[in-house]
């Protein structure tokens, strides 16, 4: 920050004649004097008093409701939220959980006459398990059971038209096994037993 020589202040205050200051200070004195004259001069154009300006503002017609609404919409406002970090972490966890559990695969849309057959079998040493029956023309390999957690329990959920079906499991592509968890069994006329599943319509 530059400091103005006190002799310049004395000249500007009229306490000292301009010629009394040294020659090197005279240009600065002249500049400051010109600036002071500019500030002291009245503003250009007609002079409007504060009172008349206030009254003009009061008399101006009120803007329409739409205009006020538009002004409110485009005017920036500062919004301050005071949130504890623990609550914001909890909120984020809830949003993440909802996203994970609700936005996943919703499964097939079931028609009015359709239901879901659940097939479960325990085959600890199996490499593959399929369910074969009257619902797939006894075609091996078309509906595979899965053992996702490798605990030996194989599962499949299949959408079928409501009705009664006979079926068996085919383990490792060659071993035909009835579903021992199914309570309904019937002789297959080939020396073994088929399991029976009754599919009820899911929408009732």
């Amino acid at each position: 920050m530059s400091v103005i020589d006190p002799r310049i202040h004395q000249v500007l205050d009229g306490e000292l004649a301009a010629e009394a200051v040294p020659a090197e200070l005279r240009p600065a004195v002249a500049q400051l004097a010109a600036a002071a004259e500019l500030l002291a001069a009245p503003p250009p154009g007609p002079v409007v008093s504060l009172e008349s300006r206030v009254m003009a503002e009061i008399r101006r017609p009120a803007p329409s409701r739409a205009r006020r609404m538009m002004r409110w919409l485009v005017t920036p406002y500062a919004i301050i939220l005071r949130v504890r970090p623990a609550w914001s972490v909890a909120f984020a966890a809830v949003v993440a959980a909802l996203t994970l559990f609700t936005a996943g695969d919703q499964g097939p849309e079931l028609a009015e006459h359709e239901g879901i057959a659940q097939f479960v079998g325990r085959f600890p040493d199996a490499q593959s398990v399929h369910v074969v029956g009257t619902f797939n023309d006894w075609r091996p390999g078309s509906i595979a059971l899965e053992d996702q957690d490798h605990d030996g329990v194989w599962r499949a959920s299949v959408v079928l038209p409501a009705g009664t079906y006979e079926y068996m499991f085919v383990v490792d592509g060659e071993r035909w096994v009835p579903d021992h968890l199914a309570e309904r069994l019937v002789a297959d006329d080939f020396g073994r037993e088929n399991s029976i599943v009754i599919v009820r319509p899911a929408r009732r």
Binding site: Q118, G163, R184, A187
Partner: protein, 223 residues
């Protein structure tokens, strides 16, 4: 040449529709030597107004299980006999011919599940058409768990008369089985459930996970 093609085409079109579709479904699925015999059995069934799908399924089942051709033919013949027995039973019970194929399939299933013919006839006579299949399965479920067939049939008939909806009849038999699991005798279980009619415990709904993971088979066959 054109004449022969025309004759062959006429002969093909003259065949009944089931015969055309059946051979296509059987070829490559059962031993070729068994196809003519199975095909003629299916033609007999079609001419008699019997359902053919159970016979086709039996043949396909035998082929999938790598059963020899003669045994497949024998099994299909046995199934044909069961369907004829079912039709005769339905007529005896009061159904007017022609009997519906679905009814014959249902009754044949009940007989295969071990229900005595008189009990099946009694249920058929007492229960109107829509809930018959479920009613017979409900009785068969009880008989499979050593309930007296006549008493089991009476409970299900009572349930129908009490207004239990068709889709809830299996819950009636399930409720009786649960009473046995709680330590009651079969007779006590039937009495307890009969007192509760028409209220029966609701079945378990499929879980969200099971619905979400469900798949459709490539070509489901209507039952």
């Amino acid at each position: 040449m054109t004449r022969w093609v025309g004759l062959a085409l006429s002969a093909f079109l003259a065949l009944p529709l089931p015969a055309q579709s059946v051979r296509g479904r059987l070829e490559g699925r059962i031993p070729s030597t068994a196809i003519p015999a199975v095909d003629s059995l299916i033609q007999f069934a079609s001419q008699e107004g019997l359902p053919t799908e159970p016979l086709i399924q039996k043949a396909l089942e035998g082929g999938a299980k790598h059963v020899a051709g003669p045994r497949i033919v024998a099994a299909v013949q046995l199934s044909l006999g069961q369907l004829r027995d079912a039709r005769d039973l339905l007529v005896r019970a009061g159904d007017q011919p022609p009997v519906l194929p679905a009814e014959m399939t249902t009754v044949a299933w009940a007989l295969r599940r071990g229900l005595p013919a008189p009990v099946v006839e009694r249920v058929v006579a007492a229960v109107p058409r829509p809930p018959r299949a479920t009613a017979l399965h409900a009785v068969a479920d009880l008989v499979a768990h050593r309930f007296d067939p006549d008493s089991a049939a009476q409970l299900i008939i009572d349930a129908v008369r009490a207004g239990v909806p068709r889709e809830r009849l299996l819950d009636v038999s399930t409720a009786a089985l649960q009473q046995v699991q709680r330590g009651h005798t079969q007779a006590e279980a039937l009495a307890i459930v009969r007192q509760q009619l028409p209220n029966v415990p609701a079945p378990a709904r499929p879980t969200r996970g099971n619905v979400a993971g469900a798949r459709r088979p490539a070509a489901p066959v209507p039952p």
